[in-house]
């Protein structure tokens, strides 16, 4: 069954959409959905007062959010299955601590996208804000599993303290990308800002284009064997996030570090053919 919630309620206040989880909403009747509460600012409203609700019983299971979605925060928070599609932009904290299922955002995502992600897939078709795939404030670990694909750019601290999982940024990322990385894989097909990989313990940061030198804690380790990246190329292609054509056929340089931390991480840098 497909349930579409078309938000006609325009506001500049944050809207807490944490309760709109697909498995929960899809199990309710349209009357029950209308009675669900969302918080706009500090006030609760019934969902029926904020959006048009449409149910299609013969479609595949999916919850669709459309209309004025740009102020919806906490979309898919702790989501644990099924599919949630947002037709438009979303606010902050989308997919936080998600445990399964697929969250697709056709526009831009705010800060803290996929923070603490445990499993499942988040796909953003435009840009993401700061702390994408990072850790919640006060937490030591970021993503512990799952995948985040951002087709455009991401802000600062993307993949910070990631423990496990895959974060792919199709464009550029901001400063402190993969800071304090513990394990897992962060791929930036474009370029990174300052201090990429600072404090990295283990894991891999793959950078399409390096603008400046890496931090002093990274040692050059010569040409990289990218056999493992070939595994990712095939899977990413299947998942609709293909790596650039010819990317893996050219040369890669490997840097190991950060020696100021455990130093077992690696940064792979694509050598662009001049």
């Amino acid at each position: 069954m497909r349930v579409t919630l078309d938000f006609h309620f325009e506001t500049t206040l944050p809207v807490d959409a944490a309760g709109l989880l697909p498995l929960k909403v899809l199990s309710l009747s349209s009357k029950e959905i209308e009675r669900l509460q969302v918080r706009i600012g500090s006030t609760s409203f019934a969902l029926g007062d904020c959006c048009h609700i449409a149910c299609e019983s013969d479609a595949t299971d999916e919850l669709v959010l459309a209309g004025h979605t740009g102020h919806l925060d906490n979309i898919g928070r702790k989501m644990d299955g099924s599919r949630l599609t947002v037709k438009g932009d979303v606010g902050h904290c989308a997919g936080v601590e998600m445990r399964g299922g697929e969250l697709v955002i056709s526009g831009n995502a705010g800060d803290y996208l996929g923070v603490g992600l445990q499993n499942g897939l988040i796909r953003v078709e435009r840009n993401a804000g700061n702390h994408c795939g990072a850790c919640l404030p006060g937490h030591k670990e970021g993503m512990t599993g799952g995948m985040i694909f951002v087709a455009g750019d991401a802000g600062n601290e993307a993949g910070a303290a990631m423990r496990r999982g895959l974060l792919v940024i199709g464009g550029n990322s901001g400063d402190y990308t993969a800071v304090n990385l513990r394990a897992g894989t962060v791929m930036v097909l474009g370029t990174c800002g300052k201090n990429a990989g600072l404090g990295m313990r283990r894991g891999s940061l793959v950078i399409g284009e390096l603008q400046g030198p890496l931090l002093a804690g990274f040692s050059p380790a010569g040409p990289a064997d990218i056999e493992w990246l070939r595994l990712y190329r095939k899977k990413l292609s299947e998942w609709g996030m293909p790596l650039p054509k010819g990317w893996l056929e050219s040369n890669w340089q490997r840097f190991s570090g950060d020696r100021l931390s455990l130093g077992k991480g690696e940064v792979l840098v694509h050598e662009r053919i001049q």
């Binding site: 599993g145 496990r164 895959l166 894989t185 283990r202 891999s204 064997d225 056999e227 493992w228 070939r230 595994l231 990712y232 190329r233 095939k234 899977k235 077992k264």
Partner: protein, 300 residues
């Protein structure tokens, strides 16, 4: 039944359950992948003396392998999951890991699994790392030409071992040519192997011996030089006998391989195609030659 003048005996091959694994071996070139697979299949002709039976299967196009490089499949059979795990570990560790540019992936979903990369990783001496992708863990073991990537676990599935064909003919060179043609047809069947050298065995064995502690000995009834000293099963004009042993991932793959082998072997110089069995008392699978050919629509 006769096909192209060759008599197909109304008999059956008796086969047994075995545990099977399918490895996908890739490398920078098809030649290197084949080389790694061939070394991985070394000295694994018969479960009697080798503990396993291994054969190189079909070439795998680069588009079909996990890492997008050319590959070959390697089918490994043994009598128990424990033994299969042991031989897989030895072969991946001693033959495939040292092969230049190679990588090794699981190619089958089985009832059980064996931790191979998960144990082999210790060769990395603490420098190894892993990647978890789509629920599968891959170990990256540093080696002197880069990294050996090996999957953590390999599936172990119930397979079938002991399918066989016995080719009897007039002239050794002609019977050998027929056997080689049959072996090629068998190896082109998906999920089937012929583990003997070139797929052809010139030493069919019988169970036991006149010597104690010898589990298998020459099958004297098929030896041309013993024609006057034993209850020979050879026609007077027969000069040579070759056996083809067939293992498969399923009963269907063994059956198809036997059928393809029979049809390929029906050529000049051949007299009889038969199969070995123990009267149906030993193995639960029976592959009747006439039935296989009838199912293939190959009956004259």
């Amino acid at each position: 039944m006769q096909i192209k003048g060759v008599t197909i005996e109304d008999t059956f091959a008796e086969a047994f359950p075995m545990w099977a694994s399918r490895l996908v071996i890739t490398a920078d070139t098809s030649r290197l992948a084949l080389q790694a697979a061939q070394w991985g299949a070394g000295l694994a002709t018969s479960i009697i003396g080798c503990g396993c039976e291994v054969g190189v299967g079909a070439a795998i196009d680069a588009a079909q392998t996990p890492d997008g490089r050319p590959g070959y499949e390697l089918l490994v059979f043994s009598y128990s999951p424990e033994k299969l795990e042991e031989v897989l570990f030895q072969r991946v560790g001693q033959a495939i890991l040292p092969s230049a540019t190679s990588a090794c992936f699981n190619g089958i979903t089985g009832e059980k699994s064996a931790k191979i990369g998960g144990k082999l990783r210790y060769f990395g001496d603490g420098f190894q790392s892993s990647k978890l992708l789509d629920g599968r863990r891959f170990w990256r073991i540093p080696v002197s030409d880069g990294e050996f990537v090996v999957e953590e676990s390999f599936g172990l599935a119930q397979g079938v071992g002991g399918g066989n064909l016995i080719l009897i003919g007039k002239q050794r060179s002609l019977v050998l040519a027929a056997a080689e043609a049959a072996a090629e047809a068998i190896c082109q069947t998906p999920g089937a192997i012929a583990p003997f050298p070139g797929g052809v065995c010139r030493s069919p064995s019988k169970i036991g011996s006149r010597y104690k502690n010898v589990r298998a000995s020459t099958n004297d009834v098929f030896c041309p030089t013993l024609r006057s000293r034993t209850a020979t099963q050879l026609l007077p004009e027969a000069e040579a006998v070759y056996e083809l042993v067939i293992d498969g991932l399923t009963q269907e793959s063994v059956s198809q391989a036997m059928g393809a082998g029979i049809l390929a072997a029906c050529r000049e110089g051949m007299l009889v195609i038969s199969a070995g069995n123990y009267g149906g008392k030993l193995g639960p699978y029976q592959f009747h030659l006439h039935k296989i050919l009838a199912e293939m629509g190959a009956c004259a």
